[in-house]
Assembly symmetry: C2
Homo-oligomer: 216 residues x 2
């Protein structure tokens, strides 16, 4: 029984890594579509989001089947419950990435943000891509050093998020209302993307070390 359980847990872990890789691919393409006003790439991201959704539903069903069949307790139980939560966060990360792609699609053939903000958003995108890649690695190898790095990158994203508001509300801002709306939304999506990654990283850290970190 124990051996079957370990094997099923391994399947759950592999599933989470696969979804995280899909999310990393999605944010990488969404960022490129956003930076380069590449509408067909944006549409690819939007079209592929249901794959992430389906993968998380399948993973949840697997986790629920394990709960029913193996009836895990203590740490084993918390691993399976954490997997359900991690899957929900990954699903939302895919949504954020899709929203970023949607902004690129709506504004095509124009760029989403004016020149003065492009460097900021390209940096936010770069960090989110790095965070997503590290998250996939972290889910795979549970190296808590990666969790630390994800948190540090999230701090950088938060600082960039604030800098977007400073710029948009500053005296030199010449953007139209649509630029202000898009910059606000895009910045919020990047920030939420990174927040979800941090919340997943905390859970993995708990699983690796046994230190329980509450949800909020």
């Amino acid at each position: 029984m124990r051996e079957v359980f370990q094997q099923e847990l391994q399947e759950v872990q592999n599933g989470l890594v696969d979804i995280a890789n899909l999310v990393a691919e999605s944010i990488e393409k969404a960022t490129r579509a956003f930076n380069e006003s590449d509408v067909s790439l944006a549409e690819e991201v939007i079209a592929e989001d249901p794959r992430i959704d389906q993968a998380t539903v399948a993973l949840d069903e697997l986790a629920i089947t394990i709960l029913a069949r193996q009836q895990p307790v203590a740490r084993d139980l918390r691993i399976v419950v954490s997997a359900l939560r991690i899957s929900a966060s990954l699903e939302r990360m895919g949504d954020m990435s899709t929203h970023i792609a949607q902004l690129a699609r709506y504004r095509f053939p124009d760029k989403v943000v004016p020149k003065s903000l492009r460097g900021t958003f390209s940096e936010m995108g770069r960090l989110d891509v790095e965070i997503a890649r590290k998250l996939a690695q972290l889910l795979d190898n549970e190296d808590v050093k990666l969790a630390e790095e994800i948190r540090n990158e999230d701090d950088k994203i938060d600082a960039l998020h604030l800098s977007v508001f400073d710029k948009v509300l500053g005296e030199t801002w010449k953007g139209e209302a649509i630029d202000t709306v898009d910059a606000t939304l895009a910045s919020r999506y990047h920030e939420r993307f990174a927040d979800h990654a941090v919340s997943i990283a905390k859970k993995v850290q708990y699983l690796a070390t046994g230190d329980w970190v509450p949800e909020s």
Copy 2:
């Protein structure tokens, strides 16, 4: 054993109703603080959010204890897993309400949005309060008619959300960049608040009818 399980499930359900009532109170106050630029009410909402967070953590721990001790299967297992998800959504609804209160606090003594949008936001707030109250009732009595009503009200919120963008991007918009940012964020928070309620309502409907509705 079965009787103990039913009693524990009842405890979970009561816990969810209590949290939903806290959320309803929170969005009611946040909306009032937003509409009336009431900074002390806004601060009350912000100060009370940790109560919602703590209540969801406690409820999650109860649900995990039930999984460990009762080892439910089939429908019983799905009820407990759904409770974990509902609690996560309620926690986020509390966050959205807090964000709305934060906007009111930041802009005090000014109003958050210019006159031309006040009617729209007061209507969004009214609908979100109604949704939250109906959600608490729905969690209590599992009357699926309420789930339907919540979905209809969410449709109205979505329409209002789009109308905010129409107004902000229209030719008659005279708002400053800060008005555009705040209107964008406030509208997004209201829309997400209602989305979470719909996702909870779907889960309750599943629990009441047995029709499984996947996460996304």
